[in-house]
């Protein structure tokens, strides 16, 4: 039973990370109907920037404190958001009126570019987070020894998701984002600056993706320049699982996928772990193509 709960908490931590990445995918898809393949690489940038900043002189002795982690997270999120915004402005905006496939190929090109730029900067080897700078403590939760980092990951992702949800639901800018997602033309007629909304989406999504990268670095302690694609694909699976374009859906889908994967790896087969999430994806698309929380739309053929 203890094994089960350990796997469950692990699944929630991984799921929280998937959900954070999925939010970026789902927001971009909701507004632009584009699978941003470069999003997974922005996540990797978060992990690498986190590593670099972590070892920077002024953060070195401030870790272990919540403030240190928060400063680190804010810096990483800001930088990754900036890369996301540049990407939107330079590559995706000129393609907004182009056929679907051009944008997809462009996104793949951006992914290849970002990935190889990272490889040239840091080298192709796997990098490790400085272990001595990370808190190694475990916390007793209901008689269960859970690593502190796992709790930090779950809490951090849940807090960020909640803030985003409230932002999109309760603020005026959030309403503008939702309006642009439904109908860009109509939103424009209502006086919404759609260009700015899209730019904002490309700031928020990458920021959350970057935060997820930082959390992965802190949680596993290991990063590689190619890890973005698998995490990205799984996060996209999570977004579809919950209903793409739907923010609560991405959260639910991410957490659910993390738990399914952790339990599947523990009880079914570790070797088939990555195949499991794709099987879930195919299954969900067959039985409920619009995802768990998505609305059914009449659109056949």
């Amino acid at each position: 039973m203890e094994h089960f709960f350990q796997q469950l908490t692990n699944g929630l931590a991984v799921g929280g990370i998937y959900a954070l990445i999925a939010l970026g995918y789902t927001m971009v898809y909701g507004v632009m109907k584009l699978i941003n393949f470069a999003h997974g690489d922005l996540f990797t940038y978060g992990a690498y920037l986190g590593m670099t900043l972590l070892t920077s002189f002024f953060l070195q002795d401030r870790l272990g404190m919540v403030a240190g982690l928060v400063i680190l997270a804010v810096m990483v999120m800001g930088l990754v958001a900036l890369i996301g915004a540049v990407l939107e402005r330079a590559v995706y905006r000129p393609l907004r009126e182009s056929p679907r496939l051009s944008a997809v190929v462009s996104a793949l090109g951006a992914s290849i570019f970002l990935q190889n730029a990272l490889m040239l900067l840091y080298g192709a080897r796997v990098h490790v987070y400085p272990e001595d700078l990370l808190p190694q403590a475990t916390v007793n939760v209901l008689g269960l020894e859970v690593p502190l980092m796992r709790i930090v990951v779950v809490l951090a992702s849940v807090v960020m998701m909640a803030v985003l949800y409230l932002f999109v639901q309760k603020t005026k800018i959030g309403t503008a984002i939702r309006a642009a997602a439904i109908d860009q033309g109509a939103a424009r007629l209502m006086g919404i600056d759609v260009n700015r909304v899209i730019l904002l989406v490309f700031l928020i999504g990458p920021a959350l993706g970057g935060a997820a990268g930082l959390l992965v670095g802190l949680y596993y302690g290991q990063v590689s320049f190619t890890m973005g694609w698998l995490y990205g694909m799984k996060a996209f699976t999570a977004a579809i699982l919950g209903g793409i374009g739907n923010i609560p859906g991405a959260m639910v889908g991410g957490l659910l996928l993390g738990v399914i994967e952790a339990l599947g790896a523990a009880y079914l087969s570790l070797a088939w772990k990555d195949a499991l999430s794709f099987l879930v994806l195919i299954f969900i698309l067959i039985v409920r193509p619009t995802g768990l929380l998505g609305e059914r739309v009449a659109d056949k053929v």
């Binding site: 694909m233 195919i282 698309l285 053929v301």
Partner: protein, 319 residues
């Protein structure tokens, strides 16, 4: 086929036929790779370009063909060239089987599902499914093909085998474009609802497109296995599918000359820059972005059929 295109093909044939006489083994081998990718991209073009179905897991069918050949040859001793049609058939059946439940999905959803299928196949190969695929190490010791008693061993010999197959494929696929089947696929791509409405069984044609594309990818897999004599799951990763996707889109989706040009540019051209190996992919990504921004339809886009006025009048006069 227009006269300009025929002349281009004739020039290409002459140039290619003479190429092995002047090039060294390394460059002939590069051209062999270009030929294999041309075959694969032409096969994907049926699915992606002609039928408009976003398939980003094409490497799976390539893998099925290559592994079928390897298993038949190393376990049962079937000559490699005899395994060619079998590989195509197995890949087609496999495609029909896995595409069946997901074929109705729309654009992006199909894209994601095919990525998933491709990954599942790769993971299955790594996990040594049925104890036949040799796990992460793959299979080795695949026999070289023998044609009319001639053992095909050197790159120069493979060159003619591969490019003869490419030529045959180009001819067949041009014929296919003009056929009822090809026109139905184009109709499907342009407007699935109207196609269904005018009596095209869209589900069936989508499956046929998948099966036909997969058959050719499977046969390309056979040639790859014969050329390499060693295959492993690494060769059939997601990026392989992406590369094929790029060749088709960058060259010109749905256009056979475009796809051929795409194969030369995407596979052949980077070889010229081997010296800058590390920055090569960076530039490649950059070129993709820039190219799509400035040339949305690819380099040699498909020219859509323009009806002559007389055709329209005749159509109107028909009962």
């Amino acid at each position: 086929m227009s006269r300009g295109l025929l002349v281009s093909y004739a020039i290409l044939t002459v140039v290619l036929a003479g190429a092995p006489l002047v090039l060294d083994a390394y460059w002939v081998d590069v051209l062999n790779s270009v030929g294999l990718y041309a075959l694969l991209a032409l096969s994907l073009n049926i699915i992606l370009g002609d039928a408009g179905l976003f398939n980003m897991g094409h490497a799976a069918f390539y893998a099925v063909g290559a592994y079928t050949t390897a298993i038949l040859n190393t376990r049962l001793g079937l000559p490699t060239l005899w395994a060619l049609p079998v590989s195509g058939l197995v890949a087609a059946l496999f495609a029909a089987l896995v595409a069946r439940p997901v074929i109705h999905l729309r654009g992006d959803y199909l894209l994601i599902v095919t990525i998933g299928l491709g990954e599942i196949v790769r993971i299955a190969l790594v996990n040594d499914v049925f104890g036949l695929t040799g796990g992460a190490n793959g299979l080795f010791g695949i026999a070289r093909p023998t044609l009319f008693g001639l053992k095909i061993r050197r790159p120069h010999e493979f060159f003619y085998l591969i490019w003869a197959f490419v030529a045959l494929t180009v001819f067949l696929f041009h014929r296919l474009e003009q056929s009822r089947f090809g026109r139905a696929l184009n109709y499907l791509r342009e407007d699935p609802v109207a196609a269904e409405g005018s009596g095209v069984n869209t589900g069936r044609y989508k499956l046929l497109a998948f099966a036909l594309g997969a058959a050719w990818a499977g046969m390309a897999g056979n040639l790859y296995a014969a050329k390499m004599t060693i295959i492993s799951p690494e060769s059939f990763s997601f990026w392989e599918s992406v590369l094929l996707f790029l060749i088709v889109i960058l060259g010109g989706s749905g256009s056979i000359p475009g796809v051929l040009l795409g194969a030369f540019l995407v596979v052949g051209l980077p070889e010229l820059f081997r010296g800058f190996a590390s920055a090569r992919m960076l530039v490649f990504g950059l070129v993709m972005m820039v190219l799509m921004v400035f040339r949305t339809q690819g380099l040699l886009p498909l020219r859509t059929v323009r009806f002559k006025k007389s055709d329209l009048e005749r159509a109107r006069a028909a009962p």
